[in-house]
Amino acid sequence: MDAKRYERIFLSLGAGLLVLFLSALVYAAVGMGIHLPGHAGELDPRMLRSTPPFDSPGVRQVAPGSYEVVLIGQAWSFAPNEIHVPAGAEVRFRATSADVVHGFMLEGTRLNAMLIPGEITELVYRFEERGEHLLICHEYCGRGHHMMFGKVVVE
């Protein structure tokens, strides 16, 4: 048995696969525009209620076909708890936490991010179809964590 040769073949195949997988991820990011949350601003969490735009959470239209959702996660609810947006519009979520770390997982979409006190989480998404999506806090945030949810209604 020529161990050295098998070793080379096995390791080359392995390394090749890893490179292939990484290329697919690069394509998803650059070619398909699937991004992760990044830098979108910081704030002082003690001053949250008086820091725009978080002084008035809610949904507003910023341009034709373009909406902004300002969202606050807090123990143990989302404000606003029910979000209505039209199908086909571009929706920009700007979200943060009022107390501990919370999660933002919108069921049935790829939207999945953390809400961290002091950091602004920005997510952009276009809902193509009408329907309801369950919004779940998926980061442990205290004894009422499992009670923390909301919904997005696409109309």
Partner: protein, 554 residues
């Protein structure tokens, strides 16, 4: 051919007083595993819609039980097992005893740390899970307890390095025996990796929980946590790799392919384990996509030494099986000595680890991580890695280690063999449940039985998690029973030795491989890589803006 042996060939046994400390360190690990596993059963059944946690003494909430499960299984168990096991292998590899004071200090800090953290957890003062993300704030005893547990690993490392220095003085120019090299390299990686959590807790969380500072920076703290939080998985894993490289070949009747190969793999872990932490923070705000991608690439790179390990271990198993009459392309596999519980259990752990590794690569997949982040997929994944590759292998190692440390025979080989299979089947069912549930949006770390948004789609996944978790629990209890019976009533035997493999290609006495033994080069390289991978983030966030007050929502 004796030059190809991985350890001091003259044979060596620690004095009884030191064996006793190693023995109790290992026992402490398995006691911690047992406490954690009992709580684990509660978690698994919760997913299946059955709430047994309220019957547990002192457990007020699911999240309190989950904290105990994480701390006892992922920290106290792994630290105890690694400290005890790798001190023994270092001593055996170098043929030297440990420093008595350091050895005693190791066990004392571990016990004290465990007790302090237990006090905080069992009195409901620290239901913050084992990741303790601020600004959830635990009692200071929790943070101090965890620090002391980490200090015990540093003392272990110091004990090893003291032994290595003395050995080098007596053996100038000689190659460090492989068994000792792998054991010491594991701790050198961890010494650097643990700096993140040490800084987070000692400089920020501990003073904050004592009221000495008014706030913490949540993102900065998370980043320090994950600086340690990913490499800790290699700190869990590498002691098992020591067994897979240096012992499993012997147990399977085979040999280790190459001494140099094993050393290079461990050096790759020193180099690549640490600068990968952002892959746990892909969905965090405040960290740019470029740096997240850089960490994703490095995470893919650290997958490579595990691929190399798979090749080397399978090769050793094949040599052994063919010597025992195995033939064919794959049929030789049946000739592996499956009736040896220590070996069969570790091979099953390897199979689980293949699935664990693949799912880990999915987690590390940058933008694709959004599909699985913080869903039940993640515990599905890591119960096949730390929960099986590490825990089940540790049980397998214990099947020779406890007999070795007590000079007794294993109480029942048959129950031990069955135990390994039951655990393996259990984790496959459990992970199948959690992974499919996660892909359907079932969150992790959630009292799902009481969640008002519970979806019927999750029922099958949740039931499988409950069934698999119960099997794992029963199998773990069987293991503890066999180990306890061995220690108490096992048949007395003559003192034995560790199962130590020989290599086909031993360590060359000259040439470039000699410099592999100088760990300083790898340490310098990893510090540089860390500076590159974390530098820009740290520069932006340092000094941290101390702003979030603490919350005790539990």
């Amino acid at each position: 051919m004796s030059s190809a042996v991985v350890h001091d060939p003259r044979g060596f046994a620690l004095p009884e007083s030191q064996r006793a400390i190693i023995r109790w360190t290992i026992y402490l690990g398995f006691i911690a595993l047992a406490v954690g596993v009992v709580n684990g059963l509660g978690q698994a059944l919760n997913y299946a819609g059955i709430d047994i946690l309220r019957f547990f003494p002192g457990m007020r909430t699911y999240y309190q039980g989950l904290t105990v499960h994480g701390v006892f299984n992922a920290l106290i168990f792994t630290f105890s097992f690694s400290n005890g096991f790798l001190l023994l292998t270092t001593a055996r590899g170098l043929g030297r005893k440990c420093n008595d004071t350091l050895l005693m200090a190791m066990l004392a800090t571990l016990v004290l740390g465990g007790l302090l953290a237990s006090f905080a957890m069992f009195t409901g003062r620290a239901s913050v899970l084992f990741t303790f993300y601020p600004p959830l704030q635990a009692h200071w005893t929790y943070y101090l307890g965890l620090v002391l547990a980490v200090v015990s690993t540093w003392i272990t490392s110091a004990t090893q390095l003291v032994m290595l220095r003395a050995w080098r003085r007596e053996n100038p120019g000689a190659r460090v025996p492989l068994l000792a090299f792998l054991s010491i390299a594991t701790y050198v990686m961890w010494d650097i990796a643990s700096a993140g959590i040490a800084v987070e807790v000692v400089f920020f969380l501990l003073p904050w929980s004592l009221g000495l500072v008014s706030g913490v920076d949540p993102l900065f703290s998370r980043t320090l946590f994950w600086f340690t939080g990913h490499p800790i998985v290699y700190f869990w894993l590498l002691p098992i790799y020591v067994s897979w490289y240096a012992m499993v070949p012997k147990q399977a009747g085979g040999k280790l392919l190459s001494d140099t190969y094993a050393r290079v793999v461990f050096l790759m872990f020193i180099l690549l384990s640490i600068p990968v932490g952002f892959h746990h923070q892909f969905t965090d705000p405040g960290i740019s996509n470029q740096w997240k991608f850089a960490h994703a690439v490095l995470t893919f790179a650290v997958f490579f030494p595990s691929l190399a390990t798979a090749f080397s271990v399978m090769y050793a198993l094949e040599i052994g099986a063919r010597r025992r009459g195995g033939t064919g392309l794959a049929a030789w596999f049946l000739k592996v000595p499956w009736n040896d519980p220590s070996l069969s259990t570790q091979i099953l752990a390897m199979f689980a680890f293949m699935l664990g590794g693949i799912t880990g690569l999915m987690n590390a997949s940058f933008n694709m991580n959004q599909v699985v982040h913080n869903t039940a997929f993640i515990p599905g994944h890591f119960h096949m890695t730390v929960g099986t590759a590490v825990a089940l292998s540790a049980m397998g190692i214990a099947y020779w280690l406890v007999p070795y440390l007590t000079n007794r025979k294993l109480w029942s080989e048959r129950i031990a063999v069955v135990q390994g299979w039951l655990y393996f089947v259990g984790v496959l069912i459990f992970a199948r449940g959690m992974i499919s549930g996660g892909l359907m949006g079932m969150p992790r770390r959630t009292l799902i039985v009481a969640a008002p948004y519970h979806k019927p789609d999750w029922n099958l996944a949740a039931a499988l998690s409950g069934v698999g978790g119960t099997l794992m629990f029963v199998a773990a209890m069987m293991c503890f029973f066999v180990l306890a019976m061995t220690a108490l009533f096992g048949e007395k035997t003559e003192p034995g030795d560790l199962p130590l493999a020989e290599t086909i290609e031993g360590p060359p006495a000259t040439g470039w491989t000699v410099s592999l033994d100088r760990l300083g080069y790898s340490v310098a390289a990893v510090l540089l890589l860390i500076a590159l991978a974390y530098g820009p983030f740290l520069l932006h966030h340092f000094p941290p803006k101390l702003q979030s007050p603490g919350y005790t929502f539990f």
